[in-house]
């Protein structure tokens, strides 16, 4: 892999709660090459969104974030001052959020909101920013952009609002786009359009993409490489094709098996992973997936497994050697 654009090492986030500290992200390493699309996947509460937000320091105040380094090019975001972080946000890294209904400011016109990063980071004046905003709105497929640039967010549909958020994130031509569950709040037909838009813009701008999703279909459709998270740790990472063809970690196998298939026999029960995701406050001393794992053995409950290399760019965190192509 070429020199990574973004490299996080040992990124941890914990939240202070009334019942003590809660470790949502536990020492994960992440690398994204320039122009690469990385999918971060896992079930609700596994820490994937928290990890993505931690990169830009966008966590709520109750969160404490530690990392050996969060390198973006030659800037270390983990050590950076607020001023440096601000100059990176929206300029070098754009963010698209999950809920387009609440993520746009209801009090400002969409033109003002899209133009804002242009004015702040690139120093454009009002009319230049408006011109660029208009072009961006057209790029992301807002019909009749010229008249609607002065409208407020409530006058747009959910899908259009997500397009506007994407336009805003792309405004300064960032090197990296972080998309946090960008399609979760949208209905299925709109989801596909938004994914196509993200993929098209990613390729056109040769921009790196960190796509956070719980939906393996979304990831398969969009990403070159996948990292699977479980209980705050990355349990498997590989290029998309090998991961889907030959998953190594039993959790990844469980996730893949749980995707309902249209070509299966009618009436067969949907496959699920038994049990619940672990409570994060528990502080695991052994494999966090062991309690739900159909293959778990005694030695799984002794130590936390390290990352193992399966093939060139395929790593996983399971001490067992599962036979290829085995069902979960």
């Amino acid at each position: 892999m070429s020199e990574p654009l973004l490299h996080c090492s040992k990124l941890s986030v914990s939240f202070r709660t009334d019942n003590g500290s809660l470790r949502a992200v536990d020492g994960i390493d992440l690398s994204i090459a320039p122009g690469e699309a990385l999918g971060l996947v896992g079930e609700s509460g596994c820490g994937k969104s928290t990890a993505a937000m931690a990169i830009l320091g966008l966590l709520p105040r109750s969160a404490q974030c530690q990392a050996d380094a969060i390198r973006l090019g030659d800037t270390d975001l983990a050590q950076a001052s607020n001023r440096v972080l601000r100059s990176v946000r929206g300029r070098r890294v754009g963010v698209v959020f999950q809920d387009p209904m609440t993520s746009l400011n209801p009090y400002l016109t969409v033109g003002k909101q899209i133009g804002e990063p242009l004015r702040i980071h690139l120093g454009l004046n009002a009319s230049q920013a408006k011109e660029r905003s208009l072009a961006l709105m057209r790029d992301v497929g807002i019909p009749d952009a010229a008249t609607r640039i002065n409208r407020h967010p409530h006058e747009f549909s959910g899908g259009q609002r997500q397009r506007l958020l994407i336009a805003m994130a792309l405004a300064c031509d960032p090197e990296l786009l972080i998309a946090d569950e960008p399609t979760t709040a949208l209905d299925v037909t709109v989801q596909a359009q938004i994914l196509d838009l993200l993929r098209r813009e990613q390729q056109r701008r040769n921009m790196a993409l960190l796509l956070v999703s719980h939906d393996l279909g979304v990831i398969a459709h969009t990403c070159h490489r996948v990292a699977v998270m479980y209980a705050g740790r990355i349990v498997e990472t590989a290029n998309t094709k090998p991961l889907f063809a030959n998953p190594q970690h039993p959790y990844t196998r469980g996730l893949l098996a749980a995707i309902p298939r249209l070509d299966g026999d009618r009436g067969t029960e949907l496959t699920t992973i038994p049990g619940l995701p672990p409570r994060l406050s528990d502080g695991w001393q052994h494999c966090a997936f062991a309690p739900r794992c159909p293959h778990a053995e005694g030695r799984c409950r002794i130590d936390i497994p390290n990352m193992r290399q399966h093939s060139d760019e395929h790593h996983h965190r399971c001490i067992l050697d599962l036979p290829a192509g085995d069902a979960p």
Partner: protein, 307 residues
């Protein structure tokens, strides 16, 4: 919007008419009359006075006469001020009251919003806690305690202000009075604005702004302030009414001869015409203030629809 404004402008005189009619009847039903005094006026003098001011007629007759005069903009003679009309007294007394009330409201909004916003930004710090303690004091301590204390400190003790002289109150003295009137409102506004701001800055769109690299002060002023002001605006409607009644107290403490002063004494003196005149002025001010507040919602939040 235009339709809404038209509707409200048609409603306003109807509301005013009802208020005036009620007060007209009530003030005449109240025991006593304008010529009752410790020393009884001779009956023939009282009869003559009653005849002069048409108080010997039946109430419906008086009401009809009053409406005819009102239609021509004439509020009649002030019964207890021989030779002066109610119109002249209002023209004389209204400006100081408007000045005091407007000054106090402006101070209350300015201080309240500033303290509230800073308190929310410095949430859980010494400033935040201290300002909220002061706010609680401001709400709890009545004006008739704050006013004399202010005068004691600034006028008697430190001699920083002097009482109103021949040419009316000085600016410093007026500021002191306005501060006294503004204190409880500034306190309420600070609390409302702080709570509103705390709610808004934790919303998703504030995070979006942060993710765009917008500086924190700009997130507060450009992105969040309008949302945080909505509860403040809701409070301002009733606050205008309270400022008007509060100004009665403050005018008395600070010896500012405004309309509040006249309003209280006209009611005590049963100066029927002057009571009605001041009621008309106060009600109009209130109706206008509430209309402005309702229109402000639309200016603050583009999602508000008037229909």
């Amino acid at each position: 919007m235009g339709r809404y404004l038209l509707k409200r402008l048609i409603q306003a005189p109807i509301v005013l008419f009802l208020i005036v009619t009620c007060s007209f009847v009530l003030v005449r039903l109240a025991p006593g009359g304008p010529f009752d005094a410790e020393r009884k006026v001779p009956p023939e003098v009282e009869a003559a006075l009653n005849e002069q001011y048409h108080l010997d007629e039946s109430i419906p007759m008086q009401y009809g006469r009053f409406l005819l005069d009102l239609a021509q903009g004439d509020l009649g003679p002030a019964i207890k001020y021989p030779g002066r009309s109610v119109n002249a007294i209002i023209a004389d007394r209204l400006p100081p009251t408007l000045l005091l009330g407007g000054y106090a409201l402006a101070l209350a909004v300015l201080i309240g919003v500033t303290v509230g916003v800073i308190g929310a930004r410095l949430y859980n710090t010494v400033f935040d806690h201290a300002s909220m303690v002061f706010a609680l004091l401001g709400i709890s301590i009545p004006m008739f305690v704050v006013g004399p204390l202010l005068l004691l400190a600034f006028q008697t003790q430190w001699r920083l202000v002097s009482p109103p002289g021949e040419y009316g109150p000085s600016f410093a003295y007026l500021s002191l009075a306005a501060l006294c009137l503004a204190a409880p409102f500034a306190a309420r506004i600070a609390r409302l604005c702080r709570a509103g701001m705390l709610e808004v800055v934790n919303q998703d769109f504030a995070r979006t702004a942060r993710a765009k690299g917008v500086p924190e002060w700009r997130i507060v002023t450009v992105h969040c302030l309008r949302g945080a002001l909505t509860p403040v605006v809701s409070f301002l409607g009733p606050a205008v009414a309270s400022v008007l009644t509060g100004s009665l107290v403050v005018e008395s403490i600070f010896l500012l001869k405004g309309l509040g002063w006249e309003f209280v004494f006209s009611a005590i003196n049963r100066d029927y015409t002057l009571v009605i005149g001041t009621v008309i002025v106060y009600s109009s001010l209130l109706i206008i203030a509430n209309l402005i507040v309702d229109l402000c919602y639309g200016l603050l939040d583009p999602r508000v629809r008037y229909d």
